[in-house]
Symmetry: D2
Subunit: 143 residues, 4 copies
């Protein structure tokens, strides 16, 4: 996976069981996602205003995350659709490579003003594929 | 759905776009889940120490949630497995019945001391089925 | 105190020590503050856009808050200044009246466009004093 | 100030006004505080179990914090008392040195088992003073 983002955990992320609370994971995925999109799409494409909204999140939890974990989030686009694309992310312990959890997120291009979804611009699709070192066609067929 | 829980939103739940941040939803589902399990299993079953851990979350986001929304979370058990069960939850605007989002959560019986999953006690399975007004057998076959 | 607001705690508010995390308190004060200002100033005064910003927070922590606490936040304006006013808030266990913590917040009238503070409109000062059942003059002298 | 800690902001930290929410600041101070105490007291002193609890927080907010700010929290002990000490912390923009906010926190040595405060061990007082490059006596007199 081509994009790795180091995570800074906070004491308030940890719940009564000593684990990072499940709901916190999605803030961490979100943080890495923002960094990924900035890296892949650049600042110039104004994707923030045109806006990408989350349609679906599907997350597996394998092993608890602890406050002392040195955690990276790895992110990749694994599918390009017409109006949406799918991100795959996972949280990995830096030293051991242990995968603690993973998440698939379906993001939809959505125009806040018209309140309508819209086709992903070709420039976005190409930039995402290029970042992944793949072709748009390859990523269209994937799940 | 037999269990409805009113939600109190906080100003800090709302992000820059004026929407309740996606990661907050899981805190809200969690809150309603705790209330559901207390209602269905009672205080006597010590499920908290024997512990139920989340294995999978699958969430759909239909419509943004706003700070001013009067929101209820509805919760039901929709599947009983051998070592796990599945909760279905959704966030509903109280007055209009509009469903803003929904979530399926797979919970596994997990012993913190031995770090092993264990079969759901029959007493739990029966209590959950009874709360839903269904039989254990009916809930075993569902998805 | 004339304004009492019931608080809904979340499992994710609780830290590893089993206490509601100190940083969460300020979300709760904030929630009650928003309700107070809506009650005292009404919707008509557009204070949200003219904006009130926090200049200082001074908080005492007496007793830990637990997830099972039935908590109310009580709020009052205790001082009216020229460009600012001071709120006093405390978290009280509903049944016993035990005060768990308290907070003084200095809020300043601030214009986001001009990035300048501005004198509190007389209408606001009067509405706040009226809500407290006191005169503007009484509240100007207080600390 | 001898201790500087870089902060990773999250998109969910930002509120509807585009500012990092005031309540988030205290999570950030807390994060830097934990790093400071580990650096100054070391792992060997078991201060976590003997426990330090927060008695008072007094925070000034000068300038809003934005998601794009590269922020450091600087931390120092500025007073050593008999059963308590005072931390001074501030959030500084890395490049410009602009101070966005500051906070004084009074922490008390507190034994969870007996539910009693206790005198700060001399070893802690000396370690904190040594970290600051000052004498215990100097820090006893300060505010």
């Amino acid at each position: 996976m081509k994009h790795t983002y180091p995570i800074q955990l906070r004491f308030s992320d940890v719940d009564q069981l000593g684990h990072v609370n499940n709901s916190v994971y999605f803030s961490l995925y979100d943080l890495a996602k923002t960094a990924y999109l900035t890296a892949a799409l650049g600042d110039g494409m104004d994707y923030r205003h045109s806006s990408l909204v989350i349609a679906n999140i599907n997350a597996n939890f394998f092993v608890p995350v602890y406050f002392t974990d040195q955690l990276d989030i790895q992110t990749a686009v694994v599918r390009l659709g017409h109006k949406s694309f799918t991100l795959y992310q996972r949280a990995v312990v830096r030293d051991t490579g242990l995968i603690k959890c993973e998440c698939r997120t379906v993001m939809v291009a959505f125009d806040v003003k018209t309140q309508q979804s819209f086709p992903l611009p070709d420039a976005w699709r190409e930039a995402l594929a290029r970042f992944e070192g793949r072709t748009v066609e390859e990523l269209e067929g994937e799940l």
